[in-house]
């Protein structure tokens, strides 16, 4: 198989995700814009209330505007770095046997959904990021615009790691059929571990260091902290390192789970 054929095929999957998601335009617009916007507003109001209640100018060394900028970016970035839609779909396909139609094609299941996930997140990023850009500019909240490209590279690199986790979890469906509860549990844990719930620098130092040693902080805290000026380049580079280690671990685990799972697969359904 030539590399050109591989790229052509994966570009096809990438476009498939864009076309399929834009087919249901209302659902797509709500998912990519309204939901994170509502979450942002809730979190920003919460931070304003905290500052007002505490009658403080700074919390952990940062002013209210830093927290508002963090809350605004965090919800939109978290929307990009979470993967439940394709994970649910993969679990469902293995459980019901719909995967049969894909297993007999000359392609790998891993690349099929990875390219789709990247396509879906690519279009979501383009459309949804309009909102934080507008609001940050209007409200003059702290953001270092030149840092945005590097943060986006980390976000998409981390997304591949997230997909690796999804692949491992969905491979478990070969053994246990329905494993959606794992997806929910994982996403709940990530809510805290990524720093979506609140910036990790509000945690006690040792817990913060532990969380930063894990790749999950690249889901929200590191890219958003970097964009909003809370952290410097070294932390961003550290994020690339931890994501790489995480990626290697989930790739090895996913490879074995998949290989064992496919062997025990009963080809459920017709």
């Amino acid at each position: 198989m030539s590399f050109t054929a591989f790229c052509r095929r994966n570009l096809g999957f990438f476009k498939l995700a864009v076309a399929s998601n834009l087919e249901y335009r209302l659902n797509f617009l709500i998912d990519s814009t309204v939901q994170p916007l509502v979450s942002s507003v809730v979190e920003m109001v919460l931070w304003m209330a905290i500052f007002k209640g505490a009658q403080a100018v700074e919390i952990a060394g940062f002013t209210q505007n830093y927290y508002l900028a963090y809350a605004l970016w965090a919800t939109f970035v978290a929307r990009i770095t979470v993967n439940w839609m394709y994970e649910f779909r993969m679990i469902e396909e293995i459980d019901t046997g719909s995967i049969n139609g894909l297993l007999i094609r000359p392609m790998s299941y891993f690349e099929y959904y990875l390219s789709q996930l990247l396509g879906y997140k690519f279009i979501t990023t383009i459309i949804s990021f309009i909102f934080p850009v507008i609001f940050i500019s209007l409200l003059e909240l702290p953001t270092v615009w030149t840092r945005l490209p590097a943060a986006l590279v980390l976000i998409f690199y981390y997304l591949i790691f997230v997909y690796g986790m999804s692949f491992c979890i969905s491979s478990l469906a070969f053994f246990f059929n329905k494993v959606n509860s794992l997806t929910v549990t994982k996403n709940l844990a990530l809510w805290l571990l990524t720093g979506e719930l609140f910036p990790l620098d509000l945690m006690p130092e040792n817990i913060k260091n532990f969380f930063l040693a894990l790749p999950f902080s690249c889901g929200v805290y590191i890219p958003v902290g970097y964009i909003t000026g809370r952290i410097d380049h070294s932390v961003l580079l550290h994020g690339f390192k931890t994501t790489t280690i995480g990626l290697i671990i989930v790739s090895v685990l996913g490879f074995f789970l998949w290989r064992k799972g496919v062997r025990s697969y009963a080809g459920t359904g017709a």
Partner: protein, 312 residues
């Protein structure tokens, strides 16, 4: 002689667990499950020549689809091995997957949210086909199936018959050398069944792929297959021609008769028993009507499957 498909003692056993009735047994199932094994396909030896069209018939759960899944590499065998076009199917090598196609009549394999024409463009990329050639092939196949008008409509908006035609085009786009058709006409009306049957008949005659076809409609088998495999309880019980099977079925005859004032009755008897049967019923009273019919393949298979279902 070159065989496109060869199996040696291939079998598959599925593992599941038994759950007894009741809420307590559901709770108990959390820590204690009684594992049960079901042999879906007993050790099977099979040789199919290149270009042969094989009809695979059996009742539900007999092992037809398991055999197709094993030969297409979807599932791994418990014992034995298979060679399809020289490949071990379960290795699912790209070169192998490019040469086969599996059409599952009860599952959509094209993409639900996009139009068939977009699906075919994607399939052309997956199979690394020349785009113009693929487009021309879609045109040709859709013309033969009388469905050019729905190519640009999302799959989810199509009727069952239209969807099946689209699936057939998708499964033939890469000109497979081995084609597995699992109930391609299931649930379709008679006209759609006829169109698909005619199309497949023309296609296999002209292109010559090796075909294994399963269907519950015996017209599909009689029109398309030149070899019949009957499968029962996971084992092949007949391997021969359709005509041979009918002959082997002891030349069954259907006798329909009616005594005065009584409802019509039907019996199936062999030719050798016919005289004795006629003597018996004529001694029972005055016959109002009497008819003898030769059984056809459909009927013989029906009787066979009925018998098998009772035994399952």
């Amino acid at each position: 002689m070159s065989f496109a498909i060869e199996t040696h003692e291939i079998s598959r056993t599925f593992e599941s667990y038994k759950k007894s009735e009741g809420l307590w047994n559901s709770v108990k199932g959390l820590w204690d499950r009684q594992v049960v094994y079901k042999v879906a396909l007993k050790p099977t030896n099979l040789k199919i020549e290149a270009g042969q069209i094989v009809g695979l018939v059996g009742s539900n759960g007999a092992g037809k689809t398991t055999l197709l899944k094993l030969l297409s590499g979807l599932i791994s065998p418990t014992t034995g091995e298979a060679k399809v076009l020289g490949f071990n199917p379960f290795e699912r090598k790209t070169e192998f997957l490019k040469k086969i196609s599996l059409l599952l009549g009860q599952k959509n394999q094209l993409w639900w949210d996009i139009t068939p024409i977009d699906s075919y463009a994607l399939l052309a990329k997956i199979y690394d086909l020349d785009e113009t050639a693929a487009r021309n092939k879609v045109k040709e196949l859709s013309r033969l199936l009388h469905c050019e008008h729905v190519l640009e409509t999302q799959l989810r908006r199509l009727s069952l018959g239209e969807r099946m035609k689209m699936e057939i085009i998708g499964s033939l786009l890469h000109s497979p050398e081995v084609l597995y058709l699992d109930e391609p006409t299931i649930g379709l009306d008679i006209v759609a069944q006829e169109i698909i049957r005619e199309f497949l008949n023309e296609y296999v005659k002209n292109r010559g792929p090796t075909v294994i076809l399963t269907s519950h409609y015996m017209d599909d088998i009689t029109k398309l297959a030149d070899r019949l495999l009957l499968i029962s309880k996971g084992a092949l019980v007949y391997d021969g021609t359709v005509e041979g099977f009918v002959e082997k079925s002891e030349n069954l005859q259907i006798v329909t008769y009616k005594f005065e004032g009584q409802p019509e009755q039907r019996s199936e008897i062999t030719k050798t028993e016919l005289n004795r049967f006629l003597n018996t019923i004529s001694s029972k009273g005055q016959l109002e009507s009497f008819k003898i019919e030769e059984t056809d393949f459909e009927h013989v298979i029906h009787s066979f499957l009925q018998k098998e279902s009772r035994l399952l």
